[in-house]
Subunit: 131 residues, 3 copies
């Protein structure tokens, strides 16, 4: 298992980690299989979406802010219930297929670490499974 | 890795691909393991839900249309921000367990390719991992 | 593949299954790999979120109830469309990385079986894949 650090600069930030995942897979030497990319936090998530136009992830962030506003009738008293909810809506892991030693992604796809309660230094785990 | 084509006829359509996944797993000869089913698009997703009553996926489509309407104050200028948002809400992959050479699904479960910006001819990747 | 039973006491209940997953992984003898945890139901889901303060999952349950209310203009006539929608929003499986014979989770993370249409006795499948 590989551990990486991801640093966010704002409270809600989507960080494109595609190049780092590509490099981790390449270094592993595994040609064919899959990678599990896992976020070990409860106020951050991960998603795969368009990496070309940054407006796409802005739209996703704004929609999530409407669905789970920062201030609402929450019970959890730490002021970050919105972040916990968003983490469950997007999920705490994604998987990518590995073929020819590289992640198989669509033309427009990028992998985004989604911090919902930054700025923080976060961890990300990558496990590579050969097939 | 297997590649399949999925064709949608409307803008938002859920297509039951369970039989094709079952066939792909059967042909692989793998008796025990898992399959990663991955959508390489940013305006389509994938989900597992009830395949018996078609009203179930209609309800899911309508609810997603209320959560992320076609027209809204979006920044991305291509007119398909709703589709990108829905793709992240449902996710770009599902996994199924393989036992005795077949996917292990509940009685009512089917696997649905979810086009949110059709009609188009889409791709789907299946990677089978033995255990 | 391991099968476990999960019993819910209310209509909507999040049940912490972390200890049982940890035990299943430990018993398997696999030191390094991943586990697929799969819910074979269409009105239940699974998520990873904070297990320390029970208010966190209460907030998630309440938000999901606002996004997909029990009563709405649903087509599916069984009175549980909200449960089907929530199942697709959270997903029917999670995966965890296995290292040193144990699931690798963050300090605050727990794995929750999410019944959205209980009370019932449900099943859960766990497939362990060595790396």
């Amino acid at each position: 298992m590989e551990t990486m650090q991801v640093k966010s600069n704002g409270r809600v930030q989507f960080i494109d980690i595609t190049a780092r995942i590509r490099e981790t897979i390449s270094k592993s030497g595994v040609r064919d299989g899959m990678a599990v990319i896992f976020v070990p936090h409860t106020t951050a998530g991960i998603t795969i979406n368009e990496a070309a136009d940054p407006a796409v992830v802005e739209d996703i962030k704004e929609k999530l802010a409407k669905l789970a506003p920062y201030s609402d009738a929450y019970r959890h008293a730490e002021g970050n219930s919105d972040a916990h909810i968003k983490a469950s809506l997007l999920g705490s892991s994604v998987m990518v297929i590995i073929a020819d030693g590289a992640p198989v992604l669509g033309t427009w796809q990028g992998i985004f670490f989604c911090d919902f309660d930054g700025p923080r230094t976060r961890k990300l785990f990558v496990q590579i499974i050969p097939s």
